[in-house]
Symmetry: C2
Subunit: 194 residues, 2 copies
DNA sequence: ATTACATCATAACAGTTGTTATGCTTCTAA
DNA sequence: TTAGAAGCATAACAACTGTTATGATGTAAT
């Protein structure tokens, strides 16, 4: 097992502790214990706690983006955008964990300007991805021509954020079908006339 | 100045520290310092830290609900629902602070089941309020008859949550007009035909 | 075989945390 | 006037924090 693999194991241990105990109670010792090792392992693979924490978050973001890209590969048109959004939602119970980590980080970033700025970059990145999708749809005349695409991209992000928040807090209020229905309604409102 | 007033002052000091430093760095000593006093004041008005923290959050929730009720008083129909939603949004820069506290708490609740349950109750409360508004609109035939009102209430909550998250992270991406536009689009989609 | 490095354990460090106890005022009611 | 409570300050407590240093392994290259 290589260096990067072991590093990932440490991050995944941190990931589990964050979900189970909360981000502010995710101490070096708790991570080491979750890993079944000592803190020496943790400090060996990560310069400090922040580097470890941010790496764990980056894994969550990357897997989600990869899932979105995978869903986009085989599809075209409105259906393609719709399934990209679906890929980001916590449709299955197992998807909720990643969103818990994400929300823990959002709250943890309040009062920490440099973490807020990192989130801004992530939002900008996903916004550009969605903007490109919307622009392609608009060029193909599949959605209305009078749309502010940046605003609509932000609206899609807000839609996903809002649904995911609802799922994490009240899972019984958002079945997979209901989540998909809300996204479907939202997206198909883009292609009808003003 | 009465007991309750002083108690509120302590909570407001905590409120300011949460926004400035983050929830996990909001210590008893930091709150006391923000208040210009000693920790003796804090412990005198609150049994422990959790009671203080939760009281501060409750103030945020109450002021928002009060603002929504106030906007509802003078209006009727679709316009009434729309302005209730507006009242919950961070339209002004000064409104962002309350949402920062809210988001800090959401993240802080990850891994703390009893805090999640408290959030569930809050969501249930606001959902019932919105459900009643939607039911009234449906009875007056102002919105479609085939809507699942519970789902639509959850959708409205998700809309506000998502927009507010976007505002806290990327304020420059959501002007007051854009926020209102998104809510307007969402709500007016309820009254057209399927 | 010896050197060097990667991996990990252990322990100590100084700082911060929530909580509690104690005591000092100031005010109020008997 | 006096007893007592309210309001607040101070200090101490043990527990926990991230970080760092040190040393013990094993492994691979010279």
């Amino acid at each position: 097992m290589g260096y990067d693999d072991r590093r990932l194991e440490v991050a995944q241990a941190a990931w589990r502790v964050i979900i189970r105990e909360g981000l502010d109670r995710t101490s070096m010792r708790a991570i080491a214990q979750e890993l079944g090792s000592s803190t020496g392992v943790v400090t060996h693979y990560f310069r400090d706690k922040e580097e470890l924490i941010l790496f764990a978050l980056e894994q969550v973001v990357e897997t989600t983006l990869k899932s979105m890209r995978f869903c986009a590969e085989t599809r075209q048109g409105i259906d393609r955008l719709e399934h990209m959004i679906f890929a980001a939602l916590p449709l299955q119970e197992s998807d909720r964990a990643d969103w818990k980590v994400w929300m823990a980080f959002l709250g943890y970033s309040i009062g920490r300007e440099h973490l807020i700025q990192q989130h801004q970059k992530r939002y900008t990145h996903i916004r550009q991805i969605l903007y490109q999708e919307l622009a392609d749809l608009q060029a193909a005349k599949l959605i209305r021509a009078d749309l502010d695409l940046t605003l609509e991209a932000n609206s899609l992000i807000a839609l996903v954020d809002g649904i995911a928040t609802g799922v994490v807090i009240c899972p019984e209020q958002f079945s997979a079908e209901q989540q998909q229905y809300l996204v479907h309604q939202h997206i198909h409102a883009l292609q009808t006339l003003p």
